[in-house]
């Protein structure tokens, strides 16, 4: 069987080696994941990744940003997340404060002291707070809150990029955007995201629209643990990928990529115990241990040189890392 070779990125042996300098761990891709990412890049659609907690959904986005050499931006949804927070918000409080200061009459100049700077209300755009979509579509205007370079310099406005920026050829600003745990947001929020995701643009409070540049590449990765059903209209606009829990071979390969010096027999034994636990906890309706918990166990056993022999120490590891009791 010929493995699928993606057209839109280069990947050797379905394996990203990681980047120690940037603290990005290695990532092993499955063929369905490679195909789904290639389709998302080819069609320009968001990639919706579903799977149990700890199976590598968010890591996938980070690994892809490093692999493609693109900027990386990430945001995690909460029940309080609103669309404005992701596009643009107006800092009314600061504006009110500035207006209040500007209304105070300036004190009479003291000839013995240098003149005080007069407080003044800034242009409206100076109170915009750019959200993650604005940064993704047009990072230059976001860093200046959409003021002209001169005006931004006058008011000392220059915001830092809220993610990982990478130098790209020809000044390109291609970006991987991770919208993590969308199922934690209010059920209507995914529908609100349709407009910015579809049009690749954000509308500012003054009515102007900021769009991504023609030719700018974007990979939006949206993750869900499937705690909630997502709206059908949203699902029909996304390329979907379901990441299953890896089997014992897959777990062993992942652990070896993360811990190349770890003892293989120990990794294998822990992987087999994980598979055993999964079956057990499913019977009892508990949450099965995920890949990230498996890696924690491998790391702990390697560091403390604990063998998987059912002894007291191993049982402690089981309880603390793998079979977490219901609290």
């Amino acid at each position: 069987m010929t493995p699928y070779q993606p057209r839109n990125f280069t990947l050797t042996d379905y394996r990203f080696a990681g980047d120690e300098a940037l603290d990005i761990p290695p990532y092993l891709f499955s063929e369905p994941a490679v195909i789904a990412i290639d389709v998302a890049l080819a069609t320009g659609r968001p990639l919706l990744v579903a799977g149990p907690p700890g199976c590598g959904k968010s890591r996938l986005a980070e690994a892809m940003a490093a692999l493609l050499g693109w900027n990386f931006l990430a945001t995690t949804m909460t029940s309080h997340t609103r669309l404005e927070e992701l596009t643009v918000e107006v800092d009314h409080l600061r504006r009110l404060h500035d207006a209040h200061c500007a209304a105070i009459p300036a004190p009479l100049p003291d000839p013995d002291k240098p003149p005080l700077p007069t407080a003044a209300l800034k242009p409206d755009a100076a109170y915009y707070t750019p959200g993650i979509f604005w940064w993704t579509f047009d990072r230059r205007s976001a860093s200046r809150r959409n003021l002209s370079p001169d005006v931004a310099a006058e008011y000392l406005i220059g915001l830092d990029f809220p993610g990982r920026e990478r130098a790209q050829p020809n000044g390109e600003e291609n970006t991987v955007l991770l919208i993590d745990e969308i199922d934690k947001a209010e059920p209507d929020l995914p529908n609100d995201l349709l407009e910015p995701l579809d049009r690749r643009s954000v509308r500012l409070p003054d009515g102007k629209t900021l769009s991504a540049a023609v030719g700018q590449e974007l990979l939006t990765v949206i993750t869900t643990n499937r705690e909630r059903e997502l709206p059908k209209a949203f699902l029909r606009r996304c390329v979907t990928l379901v990441l299953p829990e890896p089997d014992a071979d897959g777990l062993t390969a992942i652990a070896q990529a993360h811990q190349p010096l770890a003892e293989r027999a120990r990794i294998r034994a822990i992987a087999e115990r994980i598979i055993e636990f999964r079956a057990k906890v499913d019977e009892h309706g508990l949450r099965p241990p995920g890949t990230s918990e498996f890696l924690d166990a491998v790391r702990t056993c390697e560091k403390l040189q604990i063998s998987v022999d059912g002894g007291d120490l191993w049982r402690q590891i089981e309880g603390a890392v793998l079979l977490k009791p219901a609290i």
């Binding site: 369905p32 209010e186 029909r236 606009r237 309706g285």
Partner: protein
């Protein structure tokens, strides 16, 4: 100057599948299937709109499938020696019999011959093992359920957005508020308690009750829906949980919405029924805890009891009930609560 705005892409369509298949370097049939699947086409497509597991909190009251009437004789397993059946001892002499055959009565001339199944044994037609049940029509269909539940169960909390108009108004009047006024935001984060009436009069809707629990869990998440069931008195609702020996009794949680599905034991009887004391006590208990109370009734409004007071919101549990109707009803009846 604004950049040209990209056109809206809309939903994934067949053209995109064709483009993807033409552009991407697939070599195996399975890879082409995977490309189609992640775009939502073909049998390999993941249905992320469907929950993988049933909602565990609802006690399954469906009746057990009866055993087949005539059990087939157990076939001897191949490869095993079987013991021959014991021989019956027959009497040495055959007995005489004197029964006469009965002649059947002639059929009535005015009617055709009765079909054979009338005289046949009753036979229940169970689906063949492994046959999936036919799809059911839900009382809140998928296209409206999301909106209806959001409208019904949303509560208000203080949002993060500042109430600029309120603040400006305060400043203009010459006094600064002690707290920064913030706009309320609707939320489903409180989830709901779902009380299901599994009494005999609700028997026609038992499957709908289970489906209601599944729909709510899909929208709000399993952790935000607590499901209880009752038979006559809603305040005595309880919940069975894995690992517990006794049922957990229902208690209202202050401010958390309560959704009840019941028919008040109406059974299609005459209009203007009065509710029982149990229901009135239950409503008082919910009101005292400040819990929004919504009651889904599968009968039309004319059958609903009219003596439950202003606190509960009664909703017609019917496919035509829409979110807009519900919002209008809630705005009319209790404009200040939401």
């Amino acid at each position: 100057m604004d950049r040209p705005q990209p056109h809206r892409k809309g939903e994934i369509h067949l053209g995109e599948l064709i483009e993807a298949l033409a552009e991407l370097p697939w070599q195996e049939h399975a890879q082409a299937q995977a490309i189609a699947g992640c775009l939502g086409f073909g049998l390999a497509a993941h249905d992320l709109g469907r929950s993988e597991r049933p909602t565990p909190a609802i006690y399954d009251r469906s009746r057990p499938v009866p055993l087949p009437r005539r059990e087939a004789a157990a076939k001897p397993r191949s490869g095993f020696a079987t013991r021959p059946p014991p021989r019956l001892e027959l009497p040495p002499q055959a007995l005489t019999w004197q029964l006469q055959p009965i002649t059947p009565p002639p059929p009535p001339s005015s009617t055709a011959a009765a079909p054979s199944w009338i005289d046949g044994d009753y036979q229940r037609l169970d689906p063949a093992p492994g046959t999936p049940p036919p799809p059911r029509q839900t009382l809140f269909p998928g296209r409206t359920a999301r909106g209806v539940f959001t409208a019904a169960l949303a509560t208000l909390r203080l949002g993060r957005e500042i109430d600029v108009h309120g603040l400006v108004g305060s400043v203009v009047r010459g006094h600064l508020p002690r707290r920064l006024p913030r706009l309320p935001a609707a939320t489903l984060s409180r989830g709901c308690q779902l009380l299901l009436d599994f009494s005999d009069s609700m028997l026609p809707w038992w499957a709908d009750l289970r489906q209601l629990g599944d729909q709510l869990a899909a929208l709000l998440g399993d952790e935000r829906v607590s499901v209880f069931d009752f038979e006559s008195a809603p305040a005595a609702a309880s919940q069975w949980q894995a690992g517990r020996e006794e049922a957990m009794l229902w208690q209202p949680e202050a401010g958390r919405p309560i959704l009840v599905a019941t028919d008040f034991g109406i059974r299609g009887r005459s209009h203007g029924q009065r509710s029982s004391v149990d229901w009135q006590d239950f409503v008082r208990l919910c009101a005292a805890q400040g819990c929004p109370l919504l009651i889904l009734v599968p009968w039309s409004k004319a059958y609903w009891p009219a003596d439950l007071g202003p606190h509960p919101e009664l909703l017609h549990w019917h496919p035509r009930t829409s979110a807009a109707m519900l919002r209008r009803q809630l705005a009319r009846s209790q404009p200040t609560r939401r």
